[in-house]
Amino acid sequence: MSVDDPGKDVGRRDLLSLAAWGAFGASILAATIGMLRLPKPSVFPEPSLKVKVGPPGSIPELEYRKVAGRNLFVSRGEEGVFAISAVCTHLGCVVAPVPSGFHCPCHGSRFDALGRITGGPAPRGLDWLKVAKAPDGELVVDEGETVPQGTYLKI
């Protein structure tokens, strides 16, 4: 008889073993799931992405106003108010306004005055951001929500 003989079963896996190790595995799994939830914050430490930009009358016509402390421009055209993100769609640099529109200093992406792509490596035009009217009458730009180019808020 060899010790390698599988027929000689020294400790048959009984039901208790199975239940015990099963419960062990289950609780380790539960703990792991709980721990994996931890790194994703439930609330972000930055100030809110929604920013009030003043009443409609304060938005300049046919020129851009940089919103203080934020990387976005607001303006008013004939169709209404709109907001354009100043964050380049290529790799997240901040574009600078130039007479022809916007230039990105990092990799040379160029955009026209309405944020459409005209050159450089950027995959698409600058994001247009959602503008809404707050219940108190002020306009609110939501940096977290983009809208299709050419979406205006009628006033």
Partner: protein
């Protein structure tokens, strides 16, 4: 085409092949494959392949060492998780703990586990030490492992204390302020001799600990680094040494006649290695103590897989169960944000230092430096002072008078500490009678040193009277344990604002 079908077959058998390349032994149902399950696994091969039945006895180890190790694992995992959100700076630390408490997913629960797990570990470490002592497991050849154990005790306390500051709340700030000034207390001596200007050990220690004059930004960073890197690494190294020595010293201690007393073998035990093993393990011949005997008859060992591994998993889960149960019901304490202008009253150290704080209330040097050093030194020296080989592996040494001496010592230890404490609380101490008395007198003559003297004298008397160093060791260890417990209880429950005596915290004056 043949190679194509081979390819398809290979793809199909990837899981099986991958498993076989990971686990090289067969199902762990035979002696041989069970042994392989242990020694072919990086994490399991710290065990010997077979474990003596005595080591698996519940009533012998109570799983205390494993509880310590399990707590350390739990603390490491939860600690790393907390580091994702904790910000070690004066301005942000407290806010980040509040965030962990309120909005971090599972944050509150994990912090609770970390806090209560730390307390549990301190308790387990102290109990484990008591177990090892009362079963005389420190004796040859395990002297050095006992010393490593003392180092682990110190590291555990240091880890717990360094973590105490991190929440940056009132509790933390004032406990650490006290701790830092205890580190400075050698000045009591150097001031008395008048050499502080030339040799300021106390000032050096405090500066080393805080990196500044008072508890502030630098102290916080130092405690953080100590808590999350330096001390855990040391701890891991010494734990490795501790475990390694267990195997090198021949496994857990057991009485010489363990085989006889265990009686007939269990059904699960079958003759091992009835023929010569396929490989020879030369190392086994080098290992001291009773190791699996190659090519010999039956003996009282069981395969580590599954017996020891199951036991370890059970103790680990037991530890986790207790910790999560406490953590579910009780939130970890968090007081107001640290405010250097508003001292906590009473400002208390963590509970395991409250016995010392009781003595610190007479002399910072005696309670904070002198007695701890004397105690630790005594603990380290025990295996070298008591070398009687009898009684190893049995609680109190079953055949001797150990149990009786332990009981008498406990009574003496309790009586002495209660008497001294009651006297000091009722009548005060030297300073209350002679306000002008130099501090140096109190440093060396206070309830703490008086107790130490009484305990030492009692133990020496036991050695002479019973003519046994082992009984003397039992006497002094039991006395110190009794003293530690009573002083800790007094410091925890019976001391209120201004460190005055109260029968219960509900009688504290409201501030």
């Amino acid at each position: 085409m043949g190679s194509w079908s081979e390819y398809v077959a290979n793809v199909k058998s990837i899981p099986r092949a991958a498993w076989e390349s990971l686990v090289r032994h067969g199902p762990p149902v035979t002696d041989r494959s069970r042994a392989e399950a242990v020694f072919q696994n990086l994490f399991l091969h710290i065990h010997s392949t077979r474990v003596h039945r005595w080591s698996l006895r519940w009533s012998y180890t109570m799983g205390l060492g494993l509880i310590c190790a399990a707590s350390f694992v739990v603390l490491t995992v939860t600690g790393v998780l907390l580091m994702f959100y904790y910000k070690p700076s004066m301005a942000l630390a407290y806010q980040s703990i509040k965030d962990i408490h309120y909005v971090v997913p599972t944050g509150r629960f994990i912090r609770n586990i970390h806090r209560w797990g730390a307390h549990l570990m301190v308790i387990a470490v102290i109990l484990h030490m008591a177990r090892v002592f009362f079963t005389a497991s420190y004796k040859k050849p395990r002297e050095m492992n006992w010393v490593f154990g003392i180092v682990l005790l110190i590291l555990t306390l240091a880890l717990s204390f360094s973590g105490y500051l991190l929440p940056w709340d009132q509790l933390a700030y004032w406990a650490v302020t006290i701790g830092a000034n205890i580190a400075q207390s050698p000045r009591e001596i150097t001031d008395a001799i008048g050499i502080t200007r030339y040799l300021d050990i106390g000032g050096f220690q405090k500066t080393l600990l805080l990196g500044s004059r008072s508890v502030g930004e630098d102290a916080l960073i130092r405690f953080y680094v100590l808590h999350v890197v330096f001390l855990p690494l040391l701890m891991a190294v010494f734990m490795g040494l501790h475990f390694w020595r267990i195997r090198k010293d021949g496994g857990l201690s057991r009485p010489a006649d363990a085989d006889r007393r265990l009686g007939p073998e269990e059904k699960d035990v079958t003759p091992v290695f009835t023929q010569a093993p396929k490989k020879s393990y030369g190392l086994m011949a080098v290992v001291r103590g009773t190791s699996p005997n190659v090519g010999r008859g039956p003996e009282n060992t069981l395969p580590s897989w599954p017996h020891l591994v199951t036991a370890e998993a059970a103790v680990f889960m037991f530890t986790l169960a207790v910790t999560v149960a406490i953590s579910f019901f009780l939130d970890a304490p968090l007081k107001e944000m640290a405010n250097p202008l508003v001292p906590e009253n009473p400002a208390k150290a963590p509970w395991y230092f409250l016995g010392l704080q009781e003595i610190v209330s007479f002399s910072a040097f005696a309670g904070g430096v002198l007695l701890p050093v004397v105690t630790l030194l005594g603990l380290v020296l025990i295996p070298y002072l008591d070398r009687e080989p009898e009684g190893v592996g049995d609680w109190f040494g079953a055949a001797s008078r150990g149990r009786e001496v332990a009981l008498r010592s406990a009574i003496f230890g309790l009586a002495a500490v209660i008497a001294v404490e009651a006297f000091a609380i009722r009548f005060g101490w030297l300073r209350s009678w002679y306000p002008g008395i130099p501090q140096i007198v109190i440093t060396f003559f206070n309830p703490g040193t008086v107790l130490t003297f009484l305990y030492m004298a009692y133990s020496l008397w036991v050695i002479r009277w019973e003519n046994s160093t082992r009984l003397g060791a039992i006497a002094i260890f039991t006395c110190f344990l009794a003293g530690f417990i009573v002083l800790t209880l007094v410091g925890t429950w019976f001391r209120g604002p201004n460190w005055e005596f109260f029968w219960s915290p509900s009688r504290w004056p409201v501030h």
